[in-house]
């Protein structure tokens, strides 16, 4: 049997801890971790674009938020939607939006790409914010969590927060595994090649536009999965879930963890959510309610992280292990 790499061992231990959490934690923490895992799926979907394909999208929240609205539309008034119908519908809806937006934005690159993704996401934001199709700026309620009934049989119920937790945990692992497989395949090699040198990939005969578009759609659909569960858990969808602050926040998660690694995206999502929670809990100092104005410190933290942590939190670990090794053994990677 192959020896377990230390990184893999740590990963498996973390997974075990997550799997055992509901037996030790209170309701509040179980729901908090559910939320963190949902954001981790969201962050991984963006990492596929930013970290692997080299597409810096500043409009990823559009696909996240749209899925929440799809769930709200799919549910009959005051009743629950069926999970097995509404989840694929939400992911397909977000994927379709990603196909339309992607076909336009992928005609650009670099700075243009960043601005155009942001602009189109804001267009979706204004669609829901300014019109009355889904409650406008006030948002829309989802009165009941989706039911997982297959012909009358219910394997689990999302109304139970522990069940909800395990469903999201299983999905987190599935998405992680699926993305790992995708990235290990020829397709994955091609998109990493596109990030490194798109000209060369094109001259090798790959139609890079199609590869990028497929990536954009996959990332959009996965963001939709995260958005669906975020809306289901919260029971409420507002235009703010589509807002560019959300897009910027999830981008920060990817970078904080260390982009181009799926574990980094998960780690970044957990770290950002915990940081947010920690900052919100800060007391009033000198007449200024720091907890209420936590974004001030969050902004400062982001500036600080960009200047001092170019490789994210995972880069911090690499740095530490390099320092521990003898100088001549240190690799320059």
């Amino acid at each position: 049997m192959r020896r377990l790499r230390p990184a893999t061992a740590v990963l498996l231990l973390c997974l075990l801890a997550l799997a055992l959490l509901p037996w030790f934690a209170e309701k509040y923490y179980i729901q908090l971790f559910t939320k963190m895992m949902i954001m981790a799926i969201f962050a991984m979907s963006l990492d596929l674009l930013v970290g692997y394909t080299g597409l810096v999208s500043l409009g990823h929240a559009a696909f996240f938020g749209l899925a929440g609205y799809t769930l709200a539309f799919a549910a009959p008034q005051y009743q629950a939607a069926n999970l097995w119908l509404s989840l694929p519908l939400a992911m397909a809806g977000s994927g379709l939006l990603a196909l339309i937006i992607g076909a336009l934005v992928l005609r650009t690159s670099g700075i243009y790409f960043i601005m155009v993704t942001l602009a189109f996401a804001q267009m979706v934001f204004f669609l829901f914010h300014d019109t009355k199709i889904a409650g406008g700026a006030d948002g829309i309620y989802i009165y009941a969590k989706p039911v997982a009934a297959i012909a009358g049989w219910e394997p689990f119920t999302l109304e139970n927060y522990t069940h909800f937790y395990f469903v999201v945990l299983v999905l987190l692992v599935l998405v992680y595994a699926a993305l790992r497989m995708l990235l290990a395949s020829l397709f994955g090699r091609v998109i990493v090649g596109i990030r490194v040198n798109e000209q060369r990939m094109r001259s090798l005969g790959y139609r890079t536009f199609r590869y990028k578009l497929v990536c954009f759609v996959i990332a959009g659909a996965l963001a939709g999965m995260a958005g669906y569960f975020a809306a289901a858990q919260f029971g409420f969808v507002t235009p703010e879930t589509l807002d560019w602050r959300q897009s910027g926040g999830v981008l920060m998660m990817v970078i904080l963890g260390g982009m181009g690694t799926l574990t980094g995206a998960v780690l970044g999502a957990f770290a950002m959510m915990l940081l947010e929670l920690g900052l919100q809990g800060l007391p009033v100092v000198g007449g200024v309610d720091i907890g209420k104005h936590w974004q001030l410190l969050m902004g400062g933290f982001i500036v600080f992280a960009v200047l001092l942590l170019p490789h994210g939190l995972l880069g911090l670990g690499r740095l530490a292990s390099q320092l521990r090794r003898k100088p001549e053994a240190a690799r320059d990677d």
Binding site: G110, V116, L118, D130, T131, K132, H293, V306, P310
Partner: protein
């Protein structure tokens, strides 16, 4: 729509477009010349508006507030470039996006701490409070005309500065080849700092002159930022001329989109959908010319 209403809407559209130009021209210059994508540009529009609000109360005059506000905006711009932005020239756009995103959070929250979350109004200066009567019921405020005039003067000044002066020549040369300009003995870092501060001051000034007509409210900067992005994308990065034409175009499209209740195939569209018109325009430009109307083909 009769001729007078049409005239008023054209004037409003041009005035909005010219204001957008002030914000977008700085954005496109900083992008084109320095290669920096600055999300905090919209925050300076907000900073300008809040400076106009607070300083005009302090001085009792919007004119003094504008003068003081521009000085403060330039100072903040220089400080930001020196402390933060100058460290990003050789880094990927991704980090520029994140750092300036962090700055937005800080500016917005500082605004909330200092001024609260209420909407404020700024009085139009006494001198420009009059209106020009068009018919018995319709009139047009002088202040709006003044805004357009000031923006046009600034646009002309910018054109002359960049195209006709030695400083402008060096700035253009720096955009083409930074190292070469540096090796000719020109302090390019100082130059970039000035360009950045100038762009920020333009955005802040736009916020100041807009404050009496658009009021001062939280989130105003972000709204302008996104529309300015659309302007820059349509006009082409680095092209001040493109930004000018695109800004006027967006101003008119946005204004008329709100006024005309448009129908497609007999179906009455929601008037709220007019807010999306400018994005449809952007999509059309992207399909035809992905590099923008006046952008260089990559």
């Amino acid at each position: 729509m009769d001729a007078n209403t049409f005239l008023i809407q054209v004037l409003n559209g041009i005035q909005y477009g010219l204001l957008l130009f002030l914000v977008a021209s700085g954005l496109t210059l900083i992008l084109g010349i320095m290669g920096i994508i600055n999300l905090a540009h919209g925050s300076f529009y907000m900073v300008g508006a809040y400076l106009a609000f607070s300083l005009s109360q302090y001085f009792g005059s919007l004119w003094l507030a504008m003068a003081g506000g521009v000085v403060i905006a330039v100072a903040i711009g220089l400080l930001l470039e020196w402390l933060l932005i100058s460290r990003l020239y050789h880094r990927d756009h991704l980090y520029q996006v994140l750092l300036t995103y962090g700055l937005i959070l800080m500016f917005e929250e500082l605004r909330s701490v200092v001024f609260g979350d209420d909407v404020h109004g700024v009085a139009v200066p006494e001198l420009l409070r009059a209106s020009i009567p068009l018919t018995e019921t319709l009139s047009y405020p002088v202040y709006r005309l003044w805004i357009s005039a000031v923006c046009l003067v600034l646009a002309a000044g910018m054109y002359l500065l960049i195209q006709k002066t030695r400083l402008g020549m060096v700035i253009r040369a720096g955009a083409a080849n930074r190292e070469m300009v540096q090796s000719l003995g020109i302090n390019i870092n100082l130059l970039y700092r000035l360009v950045f501060a100038l762009g920020m001051a333009l955005a802040a000034f736009a916020g100041m002159i807009a404050a009496p007509v658009a009021s001062v409210f939280p989130g105003m900067g972000n709204q302008v930022l996104i529309v300015s992005f659309v302007v820059v994308v349509i006009g082409g990065i680095g092209s001040v001329k493109g930004a000018f034409l695109a800004a006027i175009l967006i101003g008119l499209v946005d204004t008329f989109g709100k006024v005309l209740a448009f129908e497609i195939g007999g179906v009455q569209l929601l008037p709220q959908l007019s807010g999306m018109m400018i994005y449809v325009l952007m999509a059309a430009v992207l399909l035809a010319r992905p590099e923008g109307l006046f952008g260089r083909r990559a």
